[in-house]
């Protein structure tokens, strides 16, 4: 495979890595640092930094880190003493569900993944989906860009651990592929060899370079199904004095900061097997569950971060199932309530449940329900 794509600019290149807070912090840092160190091998100065406002990071909440490489120190200075670049040459999303939008703080709104990507820049996504599947979940393009899909599932780890699955090396191979004028494949391989002394790691760089699929995205391609969340920031004459903001009233959910952007997995509920035990409602750390008129518990998806605790505490097998967020269509499966659909047309709802979850909606046995003394099939009792 030849390096035919030219560098977007001649004086500097800016790369942002959009990642899941905490879970991918080290991954993002390794990518950004390696970009700078690889470019340094040919003499270019660079800087790497995390977006200050993201720290301390919150589990799963989208965060950003950056790498800037320039032709000389003077050009580099133009990119320094900043929190985040307003324009990037390359955006990297190390979790494919981030293409549904990036909501880091309330007043940032929900931003398209390509928000800072310059015209004809690159959006690199690690995913086991096809480029077309990714485009279908990405906000409608306002500028042309090239989508690059690096094969592989999202790499998640904790705060103090790092899942060394070579995602960083594969992404670096992909960056070398789309920005060869700045990041040479040979430099990356030499750097990785030097740092890891591991031929497999070097092979992963080459694999990322070779296997990354490029897919030009034209203006207008993508979905307009995602919710628009944009806010005006008040001025000093219009904001309330005394650093006062409206609090939420009891029972009211925050209309400005919805949190579902932190979600990689979505819980779906089989109301037919639900025994109304209240465990999900009690244990949800974000108080996402509402009680329905039938006494079931349904997820308010706008508030759900997809932590999976409800599925863990649910005593009924396959009653709450965590499903890959990208399996949900932006339009058809928006963050709206699903219980009314089950109430009005159970077969249709159960078909939807089975399609998403991959498990049967039919009650397998009445054991769990019977032992708790509740009816297994009813919703109306």
């Amino acid at each position: 495979m030849s390096q035919t794509v030219t560098a977007p600019t001649t004086t500097d290149i800016t790369i942002e890595v959009v990642y899941r807070g905490i879970f991918q912090k080290t991954l993002a840092q390794r990518i950004c640092r390696s970009v700078v160190l690889a470019a340094r091998r040919r003499g270019s100065p660079g800087t790497a930094f995390a977006r200050y406002g993201d720290s301390p990071e919150r589990n799963g909440v989208p965060a950003k880190q950056f790498a800037v490489v320039a032709v000389d120190d003077t050009q580099l200075e133009a990119s320094m003493a900043r929190y985040e670049p307003s324009v990037t040459d390359i955006t990297v999303a190390v979790d494919d569900t981030l293409v549904k939008g990036v909501e880091s703080w309330a007043w940032y709104g929900r931003q398209p993944i390509w928000k800072t990507t310059k015209p004809n820049g690159f959006v690199i996504v690690t995913s086991d989906k096809t480029p077309d599947e990714i485009v279908a979940q990405t906000d409608k393009a306002e500028r042309p860009y090239t989508l690059a899909v690096v094969p592989g599932a999202a790499s998640f780890a904790g705060l103090w651990v790092y899942k060394d699955d070579h995602t960083d090396w594969r992404v670096l191979g992909a960056i070398a592929k789309v920005a060869p004028d700045w990041i040479r494949l040979d430099d990356v391989k030499a750097l990785v060899q030097e740092q890891t002394k591991d031929a497999n790691a070097v092979a992963s760089v080459q694999y990322g370079f070779d296997a990354t699929a490029l897919r030009p995205v034209a203006v207008g391609e993508g979905t307009s199904g995602h919710e628009v969340l944009q806010f005006e920031k008040p001025g000093w004459t219009t904001m309330r004095p005394g650093i006062v903001v409206d609090a939420r009233k009891p029972g009211e959910r925050n209309p400005f900061y919805k949190k579902y952007g932190a979600r990689t997995m979505r819980p779906v509920v089989n109301f037919d097997t639900c025994i109304k035990c209240t465990m999900c409602w009690l244990d949800c750390p974000d108080e996402c569950f509402e009680v329905t008129p039938t006494g079931h518990y349904e997820v308010v998806y706008e508030a759900c971060i997809g932590c999976g605790i409800c599925a863990q505490v649910c005593p009924v097998k396959d009653c709450i199932v965590m499903v890959d967020e990208l399996k949900f269509d932006p339009d058809l499966d928006a963050n709206k309530t699903v219980w009314p659909q089950w109430q009005s047309d159970r077969p249709a709802y159960n078909k939807w449940f089975e399609a998403k979850s991959g498990v049967s909606a039919a009650p397998k046995s009445a054991k769990a329900a019977a032992s708790s003394g509740a009816a297994a099939t009813g919703g109306e009792d």
């Binding site: 000093w236 309330r240 004095p241 005394g242 006062v244 609090a247």
Partner: protein
């Protein structure tokens, strides 16, 4: 625990004259202003207010939630929170105790909560010392606190009564710390006219936070975490509040004068024998007292000398100061504070005055004096030296290197 019913003493019908320390005068003001919550932690000289207020409560003359905290930081946090839920509050401290409360002091101003405090001015440790020095109050000068200084026990009470009105005015809504010189003011008894409650009620409206009241019926969040997207707007808003304080002080001063007949001509400056003066002394607090004595003595010798006493350091009444001081040939600024390593190794007041005058075409010569630190008395020979050096500076006899002088310090 038995509940003791506190009986409020019948209101005094007429204004009385009482012999009170500055601290006792403040305690009377707390009573007259119907303060809801006060927080205390002992440190000299502020503790004089604690004792005087405790006595008023014990004697059934005052009903106030009196909380003795576990330290100054808690003390200032208590009143900050009480203020946010709608209580009129009082607090105070001195010296390094004031510094121990510093975080709470900073956030109180940032949050625009109208806490009224006194800072019983005291030298900062180390060495441990009890005498007056203004660096404790002055340390908060950049935070958004309003900082008046009193000269007498009467002025202490009057400033306190004005302080709640000014601080709680919605155009301001900023905290105020009244500077009271330790010993000379806090612990010296002077004759004080104590007004009747009805007159104070006419002057001082009830505390009303409006829609900023932290209450379950008014769900708000105060003091959220922000980033660079918000902070400048918040600072600029607080700046506007501090700027409008000049007008609010002027209004309160005029109304106070109407009701109580006291307060002098200007809310910001107290001028003494300046009409024909060629040189003046400039300072704040009780050092005005020995300097007035010196002025009377020097006047008898034929010297045209006067005094301009600053009543409000924050907001700094720049226009009034420039208008006043540009009339004179030379100004001797007397600082009962010091700013190590500052321009010309001067005091805080000295550099603020020079900065205010810098762009005026008729600016006088300004010479600085460091005097009375740690509560050292300002004696007449020192006043003489200050006078002579100020006159010499006016003649142009002093060089730049001589611009600040330590007075009364042993070599």
């Amino acid at each position: 625990m038995a509940v003791t019913e506190i009986k409020t003493a019948p209101l005094k019908e007429v204004e009385t004259e009482q012999l009170l320390t500055g601290c006792e005068a403040i305690a009377e003001a707390i009573r007259l202003a119907d303060v809801d919550v006060m927080a205390a932690y002992p440190i000299r000289p502020y503790d004089g207010v604690m004792q005087a207020a405790a006595k008023l409560i014990a004697n059934g003359k005052m009903d106030v939630e009196y909380i003795v905290a576990d330290g100054e930081h808690s003390q200032f946090e208590i009143v900050k929170h009480a203020s946010a839920v709608g209580s009129r509050v009082f607090v105070g401290s001195s010296g390094v105790g004031w510094f121990y409360a510093f975080e709470a002091i900073a956030v109180t101003a940032g949050l625009r909560l109208p806490v009224v405090a006194i800072c019983g001015n005291r030298a900062l440790d180390d060495p441990g010392a009890f005498g007056t020095e203004h660096n404790d109050s002055l340390a908060v000068r950049d935070l958004g606190w309003l900082l008046p200084w009193a000269e007498t026990a009467q002025e202490s009470m009057d400033l306190a009564l004005m302080a709640w009105r000014i601080a709680e005015d919605k155009r301001v809504s900023l905290p105020i710390a009244i500077g009271l010189d330790g010993a000379f003011l806090t612990h010296s008894q002077q004759l004080v006219k104590v007004p009747v409650k009805a007159a104070v009620d006419e002057f001082l409206p009830p505390y009303d936070l409006g829609d900023r009241l932290l209450h379950p019926d008014n769900p708000i969040t105060i003091a959220p975490q922000v980033d660079q997207d918000w902070l400048m707007e918040i600072r600029r808003q607080n700046d506007a509040a501090m700027r409008s304080a000049l007008d609010v002080i002027t209004e309160a001063h005029a109304d106070f004068k109407r009701i109580f007949g006291r307060g002098g001509d200007s809310p910001f400056l107290d001028e003494y024998m300046t009409d024909d003066a060629e040189v003046v002394f400039f300072g704040q607090g009780t050092l005005a007292l020995p300097m007035k004595v010196a002025i009377r003595r020097l006047r008898k010798q034929g010297h045209k000398v006067g005094l301009v006493r600053l009543k409000w350091f924050r907001p700094f009444p720049t226009a009034e100061i420039v208008k006043s001081l540009s009339r004179f040939k030379a100004v001797g600024v007397i600082d009962r504070d010091y700013s190590f390593g500052s321009p010309y190794y001067g005091g805080v007041l000295y550099n603020e005055v020079r900065s205010a005058l810098y762009s005026h075409p008729k600016r006088p010569t300004v010479v600085g004096f460091i005097a009375g630190l740690g509560g050292r008395e300002i004696e007449q020979p020192m006043a003489n030296e200050i006078f002579e050096k100020t006159v010499a500076a006016g003649r142009g006899d002093l060089t730049v290197g001589d611009q600040c002088h330590w007075i009364g310090v042993r070599a």
